[in-house]
Symmetry: D2
Subunit: 356 residues, 4 copies
């Protein structure tokens, strides 16, 4: 971990650090050797020490939440937005003008199709031009553009797990792109830190349910990402996506169903994954017929994947797990930062999962 | 609950009452007005009071586990088998010969295809003729045969949730029977009460994983049940079934994906379900686009079902929830008993779910 | 359960049925043969079917929340208040004037010391005279007064578990009444159904903490109850009480520490408990050195108690468990109702705990 | 984290790495810059890759379990024993003779009173002389002896949380040493990784219970540690200790009750703690009347402590939390290693807790 070389330390700021992606960013940045956290903002908690809100940070951070202030943010080399959708698109344009680099963890800049964004989120988009220029921060697909990007749109949690589980197959035209089914489940931290009855412990413990089965906002992001890697001339990928809420804190598990194209086998599919992700530091292709567990990636930037072909039929089942707050949000943001600033991509992201 | 009429009280016995289906049977039978529990057997715990093993039963039962003994069992009007597979097929034939009625909660008599049973369970079947004569105890399909049956094979937990979620559609030929996908998840009690590291609290809390993705023993039972209700001449139903282990105690949630046949809509499908289950006391067809929760059926014999048609496409999503120990095992066994002895089908099964 | 005798069915109403004690009351009343629920009120949810708020009640109740209205409530034979403190004391006096009987599950009428109430709850008490006349609804102590009471103040959850664990000892002057220590822990349902960040699943899962260690509102209620049973001339009981929040839904576990008076032993203490609770249908004195589990009383009106004397020293440890929503609230309310109306005290409260 | 100075890397070995303290040791050692893990042994799993047993370690460790072999272990600079009691006392003597340093995480060398050890553990002690020479690895008390020790007995989990919560008070003679009460609760990982029915998920979820209320093996260790810090001439500390099992994975919460000596106040007690632990890197004295949460130390070597004085009475309540697998076992072992080898005491132990 010691390079012996003096490395430039950058100043970063976090907008909206009172949610779970905020505290996860802080946890990870505390252990990153090239970063100084210059400011963290919160309209409602300005003046409150971060360690008072998040007792895990007592002794690790002297930061105090401050009012959002563009002058303050503009002094940073990099600003993370960990805000609800709608906030970043209002504030990012000014920062971009001033030359600040931005990683947005919200949904504001993920979709290139602005009318679709406006339909799914029920409001006009405030910065459509920036959305067009932003880079989608899935390093396994866009590493080169990320390196030079000023604005990175960090992928959603479900979209990360699901895209990584199908990309090798779609790139190689090995599965039918029509009729894909993504059945996924998330820990409760994915629903945020707001006080809502439906998120109470007493409502979710010993309970399991689907939600948004008729259509979830992550659907267009997933389809955009899948179509983006298909060979020219392919039928555009389309899928049914049903998310579920798990009685646990962290983790996403995606169970992906696709029909193999003629000639494809479990072995050929496995080979595609191993080849595609050979050099990826954060994608672990497990032996065929493994069953990845969400806890095996808890707190890490890893995505673990395994393949099954039940009854040697024409359905290929891909199991893909991530930590929704880590590879699904804040750790992936750090991975993007490492790429943007030319550092080792794994810097600050080396720790194994906490298990048990 | 009082009828004012003297009703015959029957004597029942339970073989293998040390597991979770055993204690659930005892809990439910304690509240059943027409039943006297004459004996409960356990080879390993003979001599131990039931209330010592299951502290919830202190004050509710004076029963003591006894050695399995055919003479003892033969005195009962009805014997429940709550044993691992392989036990019932060895012991049931003698009881049948003596005129005792039997409800087997294990997998021994569920499959009519004996070679399939032998393949999936890796052993020879000891009573293939009885298996052929037994009645599959899914009351929503076999109520009449159950009434007159001497041997009822109580359905598995996953098969119950999944069959009830597709039967109205397959009977009406409203979905493509090929390429069905059943993604299901179960609470940990479904894996039994044996001390195994993989079932420890510390291994399963805050964790989620698929298992047996390549093929689960419940698959042939589900396919048999689905094919059984299809109209003559249909392509036989075939499915991919992936079970998952939830960090909770009770509950099964099945998320079922099927392609609608031309002309079918969410409304027509909803109508099929409402019509089909109109008089079923234990199937609750919820309004379209609902999301049933497993806790809403905790401890009850209910199956709650809802339908979705994402993006108005050709995929129909059925959500189906049960309590794996109740409608998925012991409460369904009581429902079968009520039918077999001509009582009100809901007797002893009226309590609402424990929520929260 | 059948008496063969026609029993008068009473009409009951519930004020404030949207919380967890409300839904638990509904669950239990649904199974009570002598009760018709005439009305359930909620200011915020008037017009909403109860079964929409609580999916467990679909098919069990056609009730719709109505506006609180004294004319409506006055038609009932009995009104339950399942409201935050402050509500019952404002509304109960008018109902009492009209001859309606009331069981209040809130803290409004538990304390006889009105200045103490006003200090702990930070507001003036609106009905001090009624508070003086009300009967404290702990049947194990006040059964006779409850039978004739018009207004019963149902005990708090912690106070129920703790009082039952010390009453036999204090009545017999077998322990030092000074320096008692009550260390107790509650499931999250005890904190209510309001959407607060601190009660979220993601905040409480895999977490444990004390709260209100400096002083909890249940303290004066507990001390009042303990002093009430002491022999004349005793030093009034005084205790330290530290509550904790458990990562589970239901259950209270009290671990009680007291110093034995000279001459007392584990055996003599055990004999006191067995004698004192011999005829109590809902107190289970377990064998000495047992460890009662909260799940063994889940959903029931039981209190299970065991005694320990570590290292044969002078400290007697009493372990006492209840279900906070059942014996700690709604089931105890039903027990009080049964006594008030002259029915079998166990009516509607016979089911064993749901385990696992 | 980079010192710029070349530091000697030592070889360590782990005996008995298949339990939870084993995997926690591996997780932490993977991130320690001065350590090379030379061997990990397991009689039952020899030949199995560590990453197969613990999926969290895939990609982090190429280690394979090997047969325990004294020649192999003797090549290490330091050997950790993460074994059940009885194993280390049999194997450590030979390693000590060969000059290897040892940190034993089991109970074998914690007690100086060998007859007491033999009474509580029900067997003869195989190495009483070594037990006398070993150093008790609580750095906050024995830092200097640890630095020069060849054999360190790493404290138990409960003893660590409880001792740290009383040491400043006993050293200063500020509380009555007689009649101390330690009410503590542990996550299920503290009970180990063996497949036992009582540790199943389905047995412990939504459940809470005391255990060993009559006497737990950690009691003599706690008393020994407390007496060790008392001023000469004091009455030796004696306590009642009741442990409880929490429905969560990691964390210990101790609620400690003691009577203040005359003249002591909350403020004076708080000052004692702040002074005593001022320079301790892993003890966090929180503001008075705080409530530390177990999750705030999850995965870390921290002990967080707060003080309360309910109703300004004579009882001082100390709340003390640790992670049972970290400060309660493996992280404390690393802290000891850092001291023994003269490194910065926080090396490899800097990460904040994983929260949520």
């Amino acid at each position: 971990m010691s390079t012996g070389v003096t490395v430039r330390v950058i100043k970063v700021a976090i907008v909206g650090g009172t949610g779970y992606t905020g505290v996860e960013l802080l946890r990870l940045l505390c252990g990153h050797p090239q970063v100084e956290i210059a400011a963290i903002t919160s309209r409602t908690l300005a003046g409150t020490p971060v360690a008072e809100l998040f007792p895990s940070l007592r002794g690790h951070s002297e930061l105090v939440f401050s009012e959002p202030d563009v002058e303050l943010l503009a002094k940073a080399d990099l600003v993370f937005f960990a805000t609800p959708h709608g906030v970043a698109q209002a504030q990012v344009p000014e920062l971009i003008r001033r030359g600040v680099r931005v990683i947005d963890l919200s949904a504001d800049f993920r979709l290139k199709d602005i009318p679709a964004w406006e339909r799914w989120y029920g409001q006009l988009h405030a910065a459509p031009v920036l959305a067009a220029e932003s880079v989608y921060g899935l390093p396994e697909v866009h590493r080169q553009e990320i390196a030079g990007a000023q604005l990175v749109a960090c992928p959603g949690c479900y979209p990360t797990a699901i895209q990584l589980g199908w990309i090798p197959l779609l790139e190689a035209d090995a599965i039918e792109p029509i009729g894909l089914i993504a059945n996924a489940a998330s820990g409760a931290s994915g629903a945020g830190r707001q006080g809502k009855t439906e998120l109470l412990f007493a409502e979710n413990s010993d309970n399991f349910r689907a939600y948004a089965a008729g259509g979830h906002r992550h659907l267009p992001e997933i389809e955009q990402g899948l179509r983006n890697v298909q060979p020219q001339g392919s039928d555009p990928a389309s899928l049914t996506f049903v998310p579920h809420l798990l009685p646990m804190v962290r983790g996403i598990h995606a169970t992906l169903y696709a029909r193999l194209k003629p000639g494809q086998t479990l072995e050929s599919a496995q080979a595609l994954f191993e080849e595609r992700y050979r050099d990826e530091p954060f994608v672990d292709v497990m032996p065929p017929e493994s069953h990845p567990q969400t806890r095996s990636v808890r707190g890490t930037n890893l995505c673990r994947i395994s393949l099954h072909r039940p009854q040697d039929g024409d359905t290929l089942v891909v199991l893909s797990v991530i930590d929704n707050l880590a590879k699904g949000a804040s750790a992936q943001a750090l991975q993007n930062m490492n790429i943007m600033f030319g550092w080792d991509e794994t810097l600050g992201l080396e720790s194994p999962a906490l298990l048990p």
